[in-house]
Each structure stands twice: as C-alpha cells, then as structure tokens.
C-alpha cells in the first residue's frame, strides 16, 4: 500500500464544484497552505472547483491560504467559529456584501460535530449555546435536570489537512499545536488528503506515536518546509502573487 501522491496538483484534482471541504488549522497553525494554493491554481486554470462549502475554525487572514481561496470567489459558504483575524478584510467584505454565507458554530461544538461525523454519531447533546441565539431552532432536551442542545454531525467530501510525518499507509503525526482540527477532519471526510512535511516508509512512525491512523487518510503529498500563514502575512504576501 502506498498512498503517496506525487504532486499537489494531483492531490487536489478530485475536488468537485459544490463539494464540502474541511480545511485543517487554527488560524495559520496547521493550515495546509500549499494544498489550498494548489486548489486556487486549479480554479484559475479551469474555473473549478467553485461553490465550495468550507469548514474551518476561521475565515482566513490576509491574502494567502484560506483568505486567498475566499478572495477568488471559490467559497459559497463558510462553517466556522471565528471569522475574525488580524486582517479579515477578504471575508468581511464578501460577507457584508451578502456574497458568502456563514454558519457560525461554537468552537467546541464545531470540533465535536466533526468528530461525530467521523465516528458515525449522527447527533449528540451539548450544554454549549443553550439559551443563546446560536441554539435557535435546535431541539432542546433535559438530562439530569439540566438543559442541552442537540447538534448534528458534520461530514465532508474532502479534507485538506497538514501533518508533520506521514508514512505510506497514511499514518500521521502533527507538529505541536498544529494538530488542532486536523485529526478530526481526517476522520470526517470521505477523502482526506494530507500534506506532510516528511514522507516516511511504513514503520517510520512508532505505532504508539501515530496520531491519525492511516485508515482515515486516502492520500499524502510531501511538502518539505511548508509555508506559515503568519510569516507570509508579515511579509504581506498575496496568492497568486500580485504582478505589477
């Protein structure tokens, strides 16, 4: 078994118009910048994929990564917990112009809905958001005298995630706090593509140190020395590059 994909272009080739795409990361930490940029390249070359529903904790920052994907007009709807950042201009303008839809989900509920999607749990109850605007229209039930809101699972057609090591079976590790949503999204997508900083042979990750077992991963593509969104933004980078 060898889940390696040779190029970023091949890695994002199968994503269709209208797809639900989970994108890992919390802000720039753990964001698969190179996979996102490959998707933008494809869109610029072919006009597809568009009308995407993107699941991410945020709404991008600056003009790279998720912000650049939104800036291209590829995203019809965003499901996230915190669409603000140091430079959220791209999302903010489209949102206020009514050109992108937003489903706002509390962060812990977002994480749990994604995990539920991966674990075959169609619905669960949480205390989070009870009595607030974000619980409107959702069933409420009392357990042991306390009210809880019912939430549904969240699944995706594709997950684009960022990992540190990936073996040929798709077993993954993550670097520090870049773990965040990445292992959960791997579980919840029909097809999970991981960009890994280093691809290793099976056995290259100790079985006890695997964070995402390969069963949740359909393809890995090696991206040595991946870009950090924060560093790109500090350099005022744009994707694609702005030419004079």
């Amino acid at each position: 078994m060898d889940k390696r994909i040779a190029t970023l272009a091949e890695a994002v080739a199968g994503i269709e118009d209208g797809a639900v795409v989970m994108i890992g990361g919390f802000g720039g930490s753990g964001a698969p910048i190179e996979l996102i940029h490959a998707l933008i390249d494809r869109f610029i070359a072919t006009g597809s994929p568009k009308n995407l529903t993107v699941v991410n904790n945020n709404a991008g920052n600056g003009h790279v990564g998720l912000a650049a994907l939104i800036e291209q007009g590829m995203v019809a709807k965003l499901i996230c917990s915190f669409p603000r950042s140091a430079d959220p201009k791209v999302f903010t303008e489209l949102y206020l112009a009514g050109r992108i839809a937003l489903e706002l989900v509390p962060q812990g509920t977002l994480a749990e809905r994604i995990r539920a999607g991966g674990a075959g749990i169609p619905a669960f109850y949480t205390p989070t958001s009870y009595g607030t605007d974000l619980a409107r229209g959702k069933p409420v039930e009392e357990f042991d005298g306390r009210p809880y809101v019912r939430e549904r699972w969240l699944k995706a057609d594709v997950a684009l995630i960022k990992a540190e090591l990936g073996d040929h079976h798709g077993n993954l590790t993550f670097r520090m706090a870049a773990r965040n949503f990445n292992p959960l999204m791997a579980m919840a997508a029909a097809r999970t593509i991981a960009q890994v900083s280093r691809a290793v042979a099976p056995g290259g990750i100790a079985p006890e140190e695997v964070i995402t077992p390969g069963i949740f991963v359909q393809g890995i593509v090696e991206v040595p020395a991946p870009a950090q969104e924060e560093a790109l933004n500090r350099a005022d980078a744009h994707y694609p590059e702005v030419t004079e």
């Binding site: 674990a119 040929h168 079976h169 079985p207 390969g214």
Partner: protein, 227 residues
C-alpha cells in the same frame, strides 16, 4: 470429492473478495482464519476492536507479549505501518464507515440481511462484545458459516429466531455450499458447489434462493483449493 467446504475453504473463498489495501475486521474465532488466505500480491490491513491497525500473524509460542493481543485475546504481532489507538477511536473506525469489510460468523442470517450471532437465547451469561458495532459502519458486512446447523437445520432463514445482532446489515454470505448475496430482501445465489443441485441447496435453505438471470448462467461454480 467433499460434500461441503471445510472452514478453511470457506475462509479462502471469502479472502478472494478482499481487495489489496482494504481495511478489514475479522470476527473472533473462525473468521480470523480468513487472514491466512489473502491472494498473493494483495495486502489487507487488519483492524482489531481493542485498538490495533496493521497486525500480523500470531507470534511463536513463548514469544507472546500479552499487551499485544487481538479482540479474541490472542497474541498477535505487528506489521510495519501499524498503529495503536484507544477504544473510542477504534469504534469510530467501525461505526464511522471507515472499514471496507467486516467478516463475521453467524448463528442465523435472514434474507432481510438481519444477523443473529451473539446469543443463543436467554440461558447462561450473555456476552456481546463488539458484534453489534461491527455490523454497522463497515462498507461491506459479510458472513462466513456452515450452510446448516450441526443438526442439519437451515441457518439462512426468512427471519432469524435467535436474538438479533443487527437489522438489515449483511450483504453477502459465504457458506459451506454456496456464495449468496442479500439484495432487496432476497437471497441471490451467486455460486454453489458443482456437486450440489439447485433444488438440493434450496432444500437446505430456509428462504427462497433467487437467481440473477437465466438458471443455466446465473450461478457460477464454487471452486476452492483443497485446504
């Protein structure tokens, strides 16, 4: 010539349908035998409920490590690329639809796909283990079983009489006499031993066997090596 397949031959037949790279859970006991018969050039990844993916054969006697066991509590070994995880992640794999195939034993299978394989009735100590989870989520749930009980009664029925493990979950049954799919609430005969006639097989089956096409071409010969 044998009148029916041995357990090893049933397991061999089931193993032929497992694709290279498939993620597979084999039920405790008889189904574990399927792992031995992977066709050359194919390598499935085996999952066990207690938190191992990518395990291999049993270790040599005396070389067991009792922290490295399968769901049947038998000692196993690891292949390169193996991973450990806790029970909730393990059943996320099961319930979440990540396994390609689960192959299970059966007391009874109904033409509706219902399966009974965990309890023979109210006597004794009940024990269910992971059976009720495994029948949900795997992309394909197959059963391997003798075609009839030890005293010759059909195990393939219109409806199970024993306590159910799951409803409408089984899609293929490999028996000692035949390979039968379950489609739209019917048993559809795919393969049978050449030595047994359709009428003989029907007489040993507790529900109607359907054919997917003309009688002379719809059923293939069920042929296995001597094992």
């Amino acid at each position: 010539m044998t009148s029916k397949l041995s357990n090893a031959q049933i397991a061999w037949r089931a193993a032929q349908d497992i694709a290279d790279g498939a993620y597979v859970n084999l039920g405790i006991g008889f189904p574990e035998m399927v792992a031995k018969f992977q066709p050359p050039g194919r390598q499935a990844v085996f999952h066990t409920e207690n938190g191992v993916l990518g395990f291999g054969e049993a270790p040599a006697p005396g070389a067991e490590d009792w922290d490295l066991i399968n769901a049947g509590k038998k000692a196993i070994t690891l292949k390169p690329g193996a991973a450990f995880f806790h029970h909730a992640d393990s059943f996320a794999m099961v319930r979440g639809g990540h396994l390609d195939v689960a192959i299970l034993g059966a007391y009874q299978v109904a033409e509706t796909g219902d399966l009974a394989n965990w309890s023979t009735g109210p006597k004794g100590v009940p024990a269910v283990g992971g059976a009720m989870d495994l029948v949900h989520g795997a992309k394909r749930v197959a059963v391997i079983t003798d075609h009839v009980t030890k005293d010759g009664k059909p195990k393939l029925l219109q409806a199970c009489t024993l306590p159910l493990t799951g409803v409408g979950c089984v899609t293929r049954v490999y028996t000692s006499l035949a390979v039968i799919d379950i489609e739209d609430g019917h048993f559809v005969l795919r393969e049978k031993l050449p030595a047994i006639s359709f009428d003989e097989l029907q007489a040993l089956t507790g529900a109607t066997l359907h054919l997917d096409g003309p009688a002379d071409s719809a059923v293939a010969d069920l042929i296995t090596p001597e094992l």
